[in-house]
Symmetry: C2
Subunit: 148 residues, 2 copies
Protein backbone atom coordinates (compact mmCIF):
# COMPACT_ATOMS: atom_id res chain seq x y z
CA UNK A 1 0.00 0.00 0.00
CA UNK A 2 0.95 3.59 -0.34
CA UNK A 3 3.64 2.44 -2.66
CA UNK A 4 5.42 5.19 -4.50
CA UNK A 5 6.41 4.70 -8.12
CA UNK A 6 9.53 2.82 -9.06
CA UNK A 7 11.01 5.92 -10.70
CA UNK A 8 10.70 7.75 -7.41
CA UNK A 9 12.39 4.89 -5.68
CA UNK A 10 15.24 5.03 -8.18
CA UNK A 11 15.35 8.76 -7.66
CA UNK A 12 16.09 8.36 -4.00
CA UNK A 13 18.75 5.80 -4.80
CA UNK A 14 20.44 8.17 -7.20
CA UNK A 15 20.22 11.08 -4.82
CA UNK A 16 21.53 9.06 -1.91
CA UNK A 17 24.46 7.92 -4.01
CA UNK A 18 25.30 11.45 -5.07
CA UNK A 19 24.99 12.55 -1.47
CA UNK A 20 28.10 10.57 -0.64
CA UNK A 21 30.14 12.97 -2.79
CA UNK A 22 28.09 16.11 -2.76
CA UNK A 23 30.51 18.24 -4.74
CA UNK A 24 31.35 15.79 -7.49
CA UNK A 25 29.82 15.85 -10.92
CA UNK A 26 28.33 12.54 -11.96
CA UNK A 27 27.50 11.62 -15.54
CA UNK A 28 24.42 9.64 -16.41
CA UNK A 29 26.64 6.84 -17.70
CA UNK A 30 28.46 6.61 -14.42
CA UNK A 31 25.33 6.60 -12.28
CA UNK A 32 23.62 4.08 -14.51
CA UNK A 33 26.60 1.76 -14.38
CA UNK A 34 27.19 1.99 -10.66
CA UNK A 35 23.54 1.75 -9.66
CA UNK A 36 22.68 -0.87 -12.22
CA UNK A 37 19.88 0.89 -14.00
CA UNK A 38 19.29 1.64 -17.67
CA UNK A 39 20.91 4.84 -18.88
CA UNK A 40 17.83 6.40 -20.51
CA UNK A 41 15.81 5.82 -17.41
CA UNK A 42 18.51 7.33 -15.26
CA UNK A 43 18.58 10.33 -17.54
CA UNK A 44 14.85 10.77 -17.32
CA UNK A 45 14.96 10.77 -13.55
CA UNK A 46 17.82 13.26 -13.41
CA UNK A 47 15.97 15.57 -15.75
CA UNK A 48 13.01 15.64 -13.44
CA UNK A 49 15.19 16.24 -10.43
CA UNK A 50 16.96 19.04 -12.26
CA UNK A 51 13.75 20.73 -13.24
CA UNK A 52 12.87 20.89 -9.57
CA UNK A 53 16.30 22.22 -8.76
CA UNK A 54 17.42 19.34 -6.61
CA UNK A 55 20.42 18.75 -8.87
CA UNK A 56 22.40 21.08 -11.10
CA UNK A 57 23.25 20.03 -14.60
CA UNK A 58 26.29 20.97 -16.62
CA UNK A 59 26.32 20.12 -20.29
CA UNK A 60 29.09 19.32 -22.67
CA UNK A 61 32.16 17.19 -22.17
CA UNK A 62 32.88 16.40 -18.56
CA UNK A 63 29.39 17.48 -17.80
CA UNK A 64 26.89 15.74 -15.60
CA UNK A 65 24.81 16.28 -12.51
CA UNK A 66 25.65 17.52 -9.07
CA UNK A 67 23.56 18.08 -5.97
CA UNK A 68 22.16 21.57 -5.96
CA UNK A 69 22.29 21.76 -2.17
CA UNK A 70 24.21 20.00 0.57
CA UNK A 71 22.74 16.58 1.43
CA UNK A 72 21.66 17.82 4.81
CA UNK A 73 19.39 20.33 3.12
CA UNK A 74 17.54 17.86 0.89
CA UNK A 75 14.76 15.76 2.38
CA UNK A 76 12.95 12.68 1.20
CA UNK A 77 9.89 14.82 0.76
CA UNK A 78 11.84 17.03 -1.65
CA UNK A 79 12.75 14.08 -3.82
CA UNK A 80 9.29 12.56 -3.73
CA UNK A 81 7.68 15.88 -4.55
CA UNK A 82 9.98 16.29 -7.51
CA UNK A 83 9.35 12.82 -8.88
CA UNK A 84 5.64 12.54 -8.29
CA UNK A 85 3.03 15.23 -8.19
CA UNK A 86 2.51 17.40 -5.15
CA UNK A 87 1.55 15.78 -1.91
CA UNK A 88 -1.77 14.17 -1.04
CA UNK A 89 -2.75 10.75 0.25
CA UNK A 90 -6.29 10.93 -1.01
CA UNK A 91 -8.00 12.23 -4.08
CA UNK A 92 -10.85 13.36 -1.90
CA UNK A 93 -8.67 15.52 0.29
CA UNK A 94 -7.46 17.36 -2.78
CA UNK A 95 -10.75 17.89 -4.61
CA UNK A 96 -13.56 19.01 -2.35
CA UNK A 97 -17.18 18.03 -2.53
CA UNK A 98 -16.75 14.66 -4.17
CA UNK A 99 -17.30 11.97 -1.60
CA UNK A 100 -20.08 13.29 0.60
CA UNK A 101 -22.21 15.81 -1.14
CA UNK A 102 -23.80 17.69 1.69
CA UNK A 103 -22.80 15.87 4.84
CA UNK A 104 -19.73 18.09 4.97
CA UNK A 105 -17.33 15.18 4.80
CA UNK A 106 -15.66 14.95 8.19
CA UNK A 107 -12.95 12.75 6.68
CA UNK A 108 -11.35 15.55 4.77
CA UNK A 109 -9.97 17.37 7.76
CA UNK A 110 -8.81 14.19 9.36
CA UNK A 111 -7.02 13.09 6.21
CA UNK A 112 -5.33 16.45 6.05
CA UNK A 113 -3.94 15.90 9.51
CA UNK A 114 -2.71 12.45 8.68
CA UNK A 115 -1.16 13.83 5.53
CA UNK A 116 0.69 16.44 7.47
CA UNK A 117 2.07 13.97 9.94
CA UNK A 118 3.40 11.79 7.16
CA UNK A 119 4.75 14.74 5.27
CA UNK A 120 6.58 15.98 8.31
CA UNK A 121 8.06 12.56 8.71
CA UNK A 122 9.32 12.54 5.14
CA UNK A 123 10.49 16.10 5.57
CA UNK A 124 12.53 15.18 8.58
CA UNK A 125 14.71 12.65 6.81
CA UNK A 126 17.59 14.10 4.84
CA UNK A 127 19.70 12.60 2.09
CA UNK A 128 22.64 12.73 4.42
CA UNK A 129 20.84 10.38 6.75
CA UNK A 130 19.57 8.14 4.00
CA UNK A 131 23.03 7.68 2.51
CA UNK A 132 24.42 6.57 5.81
CA UNK A 133 24.27 2.86 6.77
CA UNK A 134 21.46 3.33 9.26
CA UNK A 135 19.38 6.06 10.71
CA UNK A 136 21.07 7.09 13.93
CA UNK A 137 19.03 7.38 17.15
CA UNK A 138 19.05 11.16 16.91
CA UNK A 139 17.71 11.11 13.39
CA UNK A 140 15.23 8.45 14.37
CA UNK A 141 13.98 10.73 17.08
CA UNK A 142 13.47 13.45 14.54
CA UNK A 143 11.44 11.04 12.46
CA UNK A 144 9.31 9.74 15.27
CA UNK A 145 8.45 13.10 16.72
CA UNK A 146 7.65 15.36 13.79
CA UNK A 147 5.14 17.31 15.81
CA UNK A 148 5.66 21.01 16.28
Amino acid sequence: MLRMSKLTDYGTVIMAYMARRPRDVHSVAELAAVLGMAAPTTSKILKRLARHELVQSSRGAKGGYRLARPPEAISLADVIDAMEGPFGLTECSAVAGLCLQEAGCPLRDNWQRVNQVIRRTLDGVTLAEMSRPALRPAAQGAVAAPQT
Copy 2:
Protein backbone atom coordinates in the same frame (compact mmCIF):
# COMPACT_ATOMS: atom_id res chain seq x y z
CA MET B 1 2.65 11.76 -4.13
CA LEU B 2 2.12 8.64 -2.14
CA ARG B 3 -1.43 8.76 -3.30
CA MET B 4 -3.44 5.70 -2.48
CA SER B 5 -5.93 4.37 -4.98
CA LYS B 6 -9.36 5.85 -5.31
CA LEU B 7 -11.00 2.61 -4.26
CA THR B 8 -9.08 2.73 -1.01
CA ASP B 9 -10.22 6.26 -0.49
CA TYR B 10 -13.82 5.23 -1.06
CA GLY B 11 -13.21 2.36 1.31
CA THR B 12 -12.36 4.70 4.13
CA VAL B 13 -15.40 6.79 3.35
CA ILE B 14 -17.65 3.76 3.53
CA MET B 15 -16.07 2.50 6.71
CA ALA B 16 -16.25 5.88 8.37
CA TYR B 17 -19.91 6.15 7.47
CA MET B 18 -20.67 2.74 8.89
CA ALA B 19 -18.74 3.62 12.00
CA ARG B 20 -21.39 6.12 12.91
CA ARG B 21 -23.85 3.26 13.45
CA PRO B 22 -21.62 0.35 14.21
CA ARG B 23 -24.38 -2.15 14.92
CA ASP B 24 -26.60 -1.39 11.94
CA VAL B 25 -26.70 -3.43 8.79
CA HIS B 26 -26.22 -1.35 5.66
CA SER B 27 -27.13 -2.54 2.19
CA VAL B 28 -25.00 -1.73 -0.81
CA ALA B 29 -27.87 0.24 -2.28
CA GLU B 30 -28.14 2.40 0.82
CA LEU B 31 -24.42 3.08 1.04
CA ALA B 32 -24.14 3.84 -2.65
CA ALA B 33 -27.04 6.26 -2.48
CA VAL B 34 -25.94 8.07 0.65
CA LEU B 35 -22.28 8.32 -0.30
CA GLY B 36 -22.94 9.07 -3.94
CA MET B 37 -20.98 6.31 -5.54
CA ALA B 38 -21.92 3.67 -8.11
CA ALA B 39 -23.50 0.58 -6.62
CA PRO B 40 -21.27 -2.01 -8.33
CA THR B 41 -18.19 -0.16 -7.22
CA THR B 42 -19.49 0.04 -3.69
CA SER B 43 -20.16 -3.66 -3.77
CA LYS B 44 -16.66 -4.43 -4.98
CA ILE B 45 -15.16 -2.44 -2.15
CA LEU B 46 -17.34 -4.09 0.48
CA LYS B 47 -16.40 -7.50 -0.84
CA ARG B 48 -12.75 -6.74 -0.37
CA LEU B 49 -13.34 -5.41 3.10
CA ALA B 50 -15.38 -8.48 3.93
CA ARG B 51 -12.68 -10.86 2.72
CA HIS B 52 -10.30 -9.19 5.15
CA GLU B 53 -12.88 -9.45 7.91
CA LEU B 54 -13.33 -5.77 8.49
CA VAL B 55 -17.04 -6.04 7.78
CA GLN B 56 -19.49 -8.89 8.18
CA SER B 57 -21.89 -9.70 5.37
CA SER B 58 -25.36 -11.14 5.70
CA ARG B 59 -27.11 -12.30 2.58
CA GLY B 60 -30.72 -12.46 1.60
CA ALA B 61 -33.47 -9.96 2.10
CA LYS B 62 -32.64 -7.34 4.72
CA GLY B 63 -29.05 -8.38 4.31
CA GLY B 64 -26.09 -6.11 4.01
CA TYR B 65 -22.85 -5.25 5.70
CA ARG B 66 -21.96 -4.42 9.24
CA LEU B 67 -18.70 -3.56 10.94
CA ALA B 68 -16.99 -6.70 12.15
CA ARG B 69 -15.48 -4.87 15.09
CA PRO B 70 -16.23 -1.72 17.04
CA PRO B 71 -14.98 1.43 15.27
CA GLU B 72 -12.41 1.99 17.95
CA ALA B 73 -10.77 -1.30 17.02
CA ILE B 74 -10.39 -0.62 13.31
CA SER B 75 -7.52 1.56 12.13
CA LEU B 76 -6.80 3.33 8.88
CA ALA B 77 -3.97 0.89 8.35
CA ASP B 78 -6.46 -1.97 8.54
CA VAL B 79 -8.59 -0.48 5.81
CA ILE B 80 -5.65 0.39 3.61
CA ASP B 81 -4.13 -3.03 4.02
CA ALA B 82 -7.41 -4.64 3.04
CA MET B 83 -7.86 -2.49 -0.04
CA GLU B 84 -4.34 -2.42 -1.36
CA GLY B 85 -1.62 -4.96 -0.99
CA PRO B 86 0.43 -5.30 2.17
CA PHE B 87 2.47 -2.36 3.30
CA GLY B 88 5.61 -0.98 1.69
CA LEU B 89 6.60 2.44 0.45
CA THR B 90 9.26 1.22 -1.93
CA GLU B 91 9.65 -1.71 -4.25
CA CYS B 92 13.27 -1.93 -3.23
CA SER B 93 12.50 -2.31 0.43
CA ALA B 94 10.33 -5.32 -0.35
CA VAL B 95 12.54 -7.14 -2.83
CA ALA B 96 16.17 -7.31 -1.79
CA GLY B 97 19.22 -7.00 -3.99
CA LEU B 98 17.69 -4.96 -6.77
CA CYS B 99 18.95 -1.43 -6.55
CA LEU B 100 22.54 -1.74 -5.41
CA GLN B 101 24.05 -5.07 -6.34
CA GLU B 102 26.84 -5.44 -3.87
CA ALA B 103 27.13 -2.14 -2.10
CA GLY B 104 24.72 -3.52 0.49
CA CYS B 105 22.14 -0.83 -0.17
CA PRO B 106 22.10 1.37 2.92
CA LEU B 107 18.76 2.78 1.82
CA ARG B 108 16.86 -0.37 2.57
CA ASP B 109 17.13 -0.18 6.33
CA ASN B 110 16.36 3.48 6.34
CA TRP B 111 13.29 3.01 4.21
CA GLN B 112 12.12 0.30 6.57
CA ARG B 113 12.29 2.73 9.43
CA VAL B 114 10.41 5.38 7.57
CA ASN B 115 7.83 2.79 6.62
CA GLN B 116 7.34 1.81 10.20
CA VAL B 117 6.85 5.36 11.34
CA ILE B 118 4.19 5.93 8.72
CA ARG B 119 2.55 2.63 9.44
CA ARG B 120 2.38 3.39 13.11
CA THR B 121 0.78 6.70 12.26
CA LEU B 122 -1.88 5.02 10.15
CA ASP B 123 -2.27 2.37 12.81
CA GLY B 124 -2.94 4.98 15.46
CA VAL B 125 -5.96 6.48 13.76
CA THR B 126 -9.21 4.62 14.30
CA LEU B 127 -12.45 4.72 12.37
CA ALA B 128 -14.08 6.21 15.43
CA GLU B 129 -11.75 9.17 15.17
CA MET B 130 -12.08 9.47 11.42
CA SER B 131 -15.87 9.53 11.55
CA ARG B 132 -15.85 12.37 14.01
CA PRO B 133 -15.77 15.96 12.71
CA ALA B 134 -12.14 16.46 13.60
CA LEU B 135 -9.31 14.64 15.19
CA ARG B 136 -9.34 15.62 18.84
CA PRO B 137 -6.15 16.81 20.52
CA ALA B 138 -5.78 13.49 22.31
CA ALA B 139 -6.01 11.53 19.10
CA GLN B 140 -3.73 14.00 17.42
CA GLY B 141 -1.17 13.33 20.08
CA ALA B 142 -1.45 9.64 19.40
CA VAL B 143 -0.84 10.32 15.76
CA ALA B 144 2.11 12.59 16.25
CA ALA B 145 3.92 10.37 18.71
CA PRO B 146 3.59 6.84 17.40
CA GLN B 147 6.97 5.91 18.79
CA THR B 148 7.24 3.10 21.27
